[in-house]
Amino acid sequence: MSAFNAIGEEREIDREEFTPGIEPQPTWCPGCGDFGVLKALKQALPEVGRTPEETLLVTGIGCSGKLNSYLDSYGFHTIHGRSLPVARAAKLANPGLEVIAAGGDGDGYGIGGNHFMHTARENHDMTYVVFNNEIFGLTKGQTSPTSPKGHKSKTQPHGSAKEPIRPLSLALTSGASYVARTAAVNPNQAKEILTEAIQHDGFAHIDFLTQCPTWNKDARQYVPYTDVQDSDDYDFDVHDRVEAQEAMRTAEEALYEGEVLTGRFYVDETRPSYQGEKQRIGEMPETPLAERYFDDDYEWERAYDEFIDKHR
C-alpha cells in the first residue's frame, strides 16, 4: 500500500475539485491577466487526470505568486525568485507529485534568472509558468527584465536603456525540452498548451503573456486582443532547434512591435528528464524517496558497515 494514497488514484476528476468556491477570492485587479492563468490551469489539470492532492503548485512572489492561494491543490508560496529550486527538490523527493512552478517575469527572469537557467539545463520533469506582464506588478509598476527598451517607470524615469530579456530563446539555449508562449487573452490555446506542458516529460517552460491593466496599460501586444485570439495555429517547426530558434527570435522581436505570436515553439521528446538521468546513473532510487519513511520493511542500515570499516 502506498504511503500516499492520493497519488495515482484512478478516478474521474471534475473541474470543481480545484475550486470548491469557498476559498479566498483573488485580490488581483479587474482585468488582470492572472485570472486567465488560473482559469486555464483549472481546466488543464482535470484534463491531465491529476487530482488536487497529487498536485503541488510552487510559486514565487508578486501578484503572480499568489496563484496557489486560489487553486485548491497542495501549494508552496515561497520567496522572491526561488520557486524553482523548491519545486525541483519536491519532485526529486516524490516523483509521484505533479509539480508546477509559477511566478512573474521579475520573479522568474530577474531575481530567479540563475535558477531558471539551471533548472532548464537539468531538464527536471516539471512545468514552469512565467506570467509575463513586462512589469513589476505587486511593487507598483517598476521596469522588469521583459519591459521594452525605452520603457519609462518611476525607477527608470529616462526610459530603460536595457534590451529586454528573450525568455523563449533563453529557455531553449539553457536546455528546456518544451518551450511555448501563450496568452491570457487566448484561453483555448492557453488551456491546450498547459495541458501539453504538464504532460511533457521534462522541463516545460511557458512564457505566459498576462496583461497588467493597472501598471502597464501601454503594452503594445495587448492591443488589439483579437489578433492574439486568432493566433492559435501558429505553424512552428517544433522539433528542429534551429528553426525553433528562428521562430522564437521573430516572435520575441515582433512582440514589441505589437504583433503577438504564440504557440508551441519547441518540443524534444527524446531528451530524458533529469530524474530519468539520475536514476540511470544510480544517483536516485527508483521508488519515491518520500515513501521510505512510511515503509516498515525498508532496511535503513543498508551499506552502513562499509563506512565504519574505513575508520578502523
Partner: protein, 631 residues
C-alpha cells in the same frame, strides 16, 4: 609535559601527500593501542605552499593538539617556486623545515630530507639546534625513494625513518599499506619502508634522544574520524536522505561525505547553482516528506538567509550546517575561527526562531547532529549545527560505541493519511496545518500527495489553512505559537546534557567556552589545577535555546570567569550576557583570532597573567584579553 606522548609533525608542500601519509600514520598509531588527535594546517593553494599535519599520540585519551610538538619530519616542498624568484612567499623550499622550528620542544627530533633541503641555508640553525638540544637527522629520503621506486614515495621513507627512531613496529603501517595500496605500488612502498627503517637502525642510535612511541591498550575498539564525518554519520543515522549544496571550504567536507553516502544509501545529493538554491532545495525535499539538509560556510550561509526565514515561517523542518572559517567575506579559507556565531543567531528578518547547536567534540558532533534532526522534525523548525574548520577537519580516535547506529526514520510531527482523517479541516476542506492552539506550539504537518492534507505553505503570514492573512488577531496567534516552540524545545533539551562541565566542582575560577574549544580548555584546566590553581570549565553547546539555568549555576559557583573563544568581538560572551541579563562584571574574555586554534598553553598563560597576576595585557601576540565590564 611528559615525553610519554608523541607529537609527530610532518611538513611539506600542498600536494606532497602530507594529508594521506599522516592519516595512515595516525591510524597505525591508533591500531597500536594509542589515542590520537590530529591537527591540520594548510594554505589556500592547490599545490605548493607550506603545509603540515600534527599527530598527537598517547596512552591516555587526548582532547587537543597539545602544546608544541616533539618530532618533525620535514619533507621539503617539491612544488615550491624558484627560490631566486624573490619571494613574497619567502623561500618556500625551505619552509617545511624553517617554519616549524619555533614550536618544536626542547630535546625534540628533526628528520629532514637532505635530498631537497639544506639546513645550512637556515639562519642560526646549528645554534638553535644546540641550544634546544634538538637531535637532527639529515637523511636523503628522496634519493632512497628514487632508488627503490619513485620519488613521490619519499613520504614512505620518512615514515620508515620515523618508526626506527621512535621504536615503533612496522607491522601496523605495513598492514595499512596492504589494505589501501594497489598491487603495483605496494611492493616498492613496502621495500622503501623497510630499507629506510633498517638503514636508520644500522647507522643511528635511537636511544640518543628521549622521543619514543608510547605503548597503550584500548578498552574498546576505536575509530579514527573527523567532526565532518561524525556530523555526516549523525545525519545518516537520523534518516537524512537528501542533501543539497554548493562547495565552500570547509563545509565541502560534509557535503562530499554525504554525497558519497547518499548514492550508496539510496538517498539523493544535489550540487546546485548557488547556496540560495541549495537551501531552497532542502526545503522542497523536506516539504515533500524527506529528511533533508544543506549547509555552507560563512559567505554561502549568508546567501541562505532568506530560505532560512522561509523555513521558519512555513515551519518546514530542515537541518543546516555552518562550517566556520575566518571571515568576513571570503576571509581566510583554510583557517579556523568562531566568528560566525552572531551571523547564525541573527540572520534573517523579523521575529524568527531557530535552534543552534555547537558540538564541542567529535562524539558530540554525532550526537548533536542527531538531536538537530530530531528537534527540527519534531518541532518543525530549522536547526543549525555550527562548527568550525578545526572540529570539521581534525581526526580523532573515538570509541566505536560512540555511534549507536540505531536508524531513526521518524518524521516527527508529520501525520499519516489515517491521522489526517480526524484532523481539523476548514470549510473548503483544507487541512488546518497551522492551527492556533496546539500543545507546545507544534501543529502537525501533512505532506503533498496525502489524502485529506491539502494546505498552502506560505512565506507570508498565514491563517490556519495556510492562506495569506494580515489579520491582527491571526498574526498575534501565529507569532505566539511559533515562539512557544522555543520554550518547549528548551525543556526537551534539558534532558540531553549537552553542556560539559570539567574540573573540581568547588573551584574558585571558571572558564566558559563553546564549540570546538572544549577539549583544549579541559586540558588547560587540568594543567592549571596541577599547577596549584583552582579552576573548572563549562563547554556550552546548546546555543539556542540557551541553557540559562546551567550556565547561571556555573557562573554563580565561581568568583570570576574567563570566556575562551576564537573571535575578536567576544560573541559568545555577548550572547551569554544577553541571555542571562547580567554578569557583565564577572566575565572576561580570552580571544584568539589569528587563524590557528588555541593550544592549552595559550589558555594556561592567558589565565595566569590575567586572572591571577591581574594584567590586562596577555604576553605574546597570539591571544587578546578583554576585561570584564563595570567593576
Amino acid at each position: 609535559m611528559t615525553e610519554s606522548e608523541l607529537i609527530w609533525r610532518i611538513s611539506g608542500g600542498s600536494g606532497d601527500g602530507i594529508a594521506s601519509t599522516s592519516q595512515n600514520f595516525a591510524k597505525a598509531l591508533m591500531r597500536s593501542g594509542l589515542h590520537v588527535f590530529t591537527h591540520r594546517h594548510y594554505p589556500s593553494r592547490i599545490r605548493g605552499g607550506h603545509t603540515y599535519t600534527e599527530i598527537r599520540a598517547s596512552s591516555e585519551p587526548v582532547k587537543s593538539r597539545g602544546n608544541g610538538y616533539n618530532f618533525l619530519l620535514a619533507l621539503g616542498d617539491s612544488f615550491a617556486r624558484n627560490p631566486q624568484e624573490d619571494a613574497y612567499y619567502g623561500n618556500e623550499e625551505l619552509k617545511p623545515l624553517s617554519e616549524n622550528l619555533d614550536e618544536l620542544r626542547e630535546g625534540g627530533v628533526i628528520v629532514y630530507d637532505s635530498g631537497l633541503l639544506d639546513a645550512g641555508e637556515i639562519e642560526e640553525f646549528d645554534r638553535r639546534a644546540e641550544e634546544n638540544n634538538w637531535h637532527v637527522y639529515p637523511i636523503d629520503l628522496r634519493g632512497m625513494a628514487r632508488e627503490q621506486g619513485r620519488e613521490v614515495m619519499r613520504n614512505t621513507a620518512g615514515v620508515g625513518v620515523t618508526c626506527a627512531l621512535i621504536g615503533m613496529d612496522l607491522e601496523y603501517i605495513q598492514d595499512l599499506m596492504r589494505e589501501a595500496m594497489p598491487e603495483k605500488i605496494l611492493e616498492p612502498n613496502l621495500e622503501i619502508l623497510q630499507t629506510a627503517y633498517d638503514q636508520v637502525k644500522e647507522e643511528h642510535d635511537p636511544d640518543a634522544h628521549d622521543v619514543a612511541v608510547p605503548s597503550g591498550e584500548h578498552d574498546e575498539p576505536q575509530l579514527l574520524l573527523s567532526g565532518s564525518e561524525a556530523i555526516s554519520y549523525g545525519a545518516i543515522d537520523e534518516g537524512c536522505r537528501f542533501i543539497a549544496g554548493y562547495p565552500m571550504t570547509p563545509w565541502t567536507e560534509v557535503f562530499t561525505i554525504m554525497t558519497q553516502s547518499m548514492s550508496q544509501l539510496g538517498g539523493i545529493s544535489e550540487q546546485v547553482e548557488d547556496e540560495i538554491a541549495a537551501a531552497a532545495l532542502a526545503l522542497g525535499a523536506s516539504h515533500a516528506g524527506v529528511k533533508a539538509m544543506s549547509g555552507s560556510s560563512g559567505g554561502g550561509f549568508a546567501l541562505m538567509s532568506e530560505p532560512l526565514g522561509l523555513a521558519e515561517m512555513t515551519e518546514t523542518p530542515v537541518v543546516f550546517v555552518e562550517a566556520m572559517r575566518a571571515g568576513p567575506s571570503t576571509g581566510m579559507p583554510t583557517k579556523t575561527e568562531q566568528g560566525d556565531l552572531e551571523h547564525v543567531l541573527y540572520t534573517s528578518q523579523g521575529d524568527t526562531h531557530r535552534v543552534v547547536f555547537a558540538p564541542g567534540t567529535v562524539e558530540e558532533a554525532y550526537d548533536q547532529t542527531r538531536t538537530a534532526f530530531r528537534i527540527a522534525y519534531e518541532y518543525q523548525i530549522p536547526a543549525i549545527v555550527l562548527y568550525d574548520q578545526k572540529l570539521g577537519g581534525e581526526l580523532i580516535s573515538v570509541p566505536e560505541s560512540t555511534f549507536d547506529r540505531e536508524p531513526n526514520p521518524d518524521l516527527g510531527s508529520t501525520l499519516t493519511e489515517a491521522e489526517l482523517e480526524d484532523a481539523p479541516h476548514n470549510a473548503a476542506g483544507k487541512y488546518e496545518r497551522y492551527q492556533h492552539d496546539v500543545a507546545d506550539g507544534v501543529s502537525p504537518r501533512s505532506l503533498p500527495g496525502q489524502k485529506g492534507g491539502r494546505f498552502l505553505a506560505s512565506g507570508n503570514e498565514h491563517e490556519p489553512s495556510g492562506h495569506i492573512s494580515e489579520s491582527p488577531e491571526n498574526r498575534v496567534a501565529q507569532v505566539d505559537r511559533r515562539s512557544q516552540k522555543v520554550e518547549a524545545i528548551r525543556a526537551d533539551l534539558d534532558d540531553e546534557g549537552n553542556q560539559t562541565p570539567h574540573g573540581p566542582e568547588d573551584a574558585e575560577y571558571g572558564i566558559l567556552t563553546w564549540g570546538s574549544q572544549q577539549g583544549t580548555v579541559e586540558e588547560a584546566v587540568d594543567e592549571l589545577n596541577a599547577a596549584g590553581h583552582s579552576v573548572k570549565s563549562l563547554g556550552v553547546s546548546d546555543l539556542v535555546p540557551y541553557p540559562v539555568e546551567e550556565v547561571e549555576a556555573f557562573l554563580e559557583s565561581v568568583d570570576e570567569v574567563l570566556v575562551v573563544e576564537m573571535n575578536a568581538s567576544a560573541q559568545f560572551r555577548g550572547l551569554t550576557q544577553k541571555e542571562l541579563g547580567r554578569y557583565g562584571e564577572k566575565l572576561s574574555s580570552l580571544l584568539k583570532y589569528n587563524g590557528n586554534p588555541f593550544e592549552p598553553a595559550d589558555i594556561v598563560d592567558g589565565f595566569e597573567s590575567t586572572m591571577i597576576d591581574g594584567n590586562d595585557d596577555v604576553p605574546g601576540i597570539e591571544t587578546t584579553f578583554v576585561p570584564a565590564a563595570g567593576d
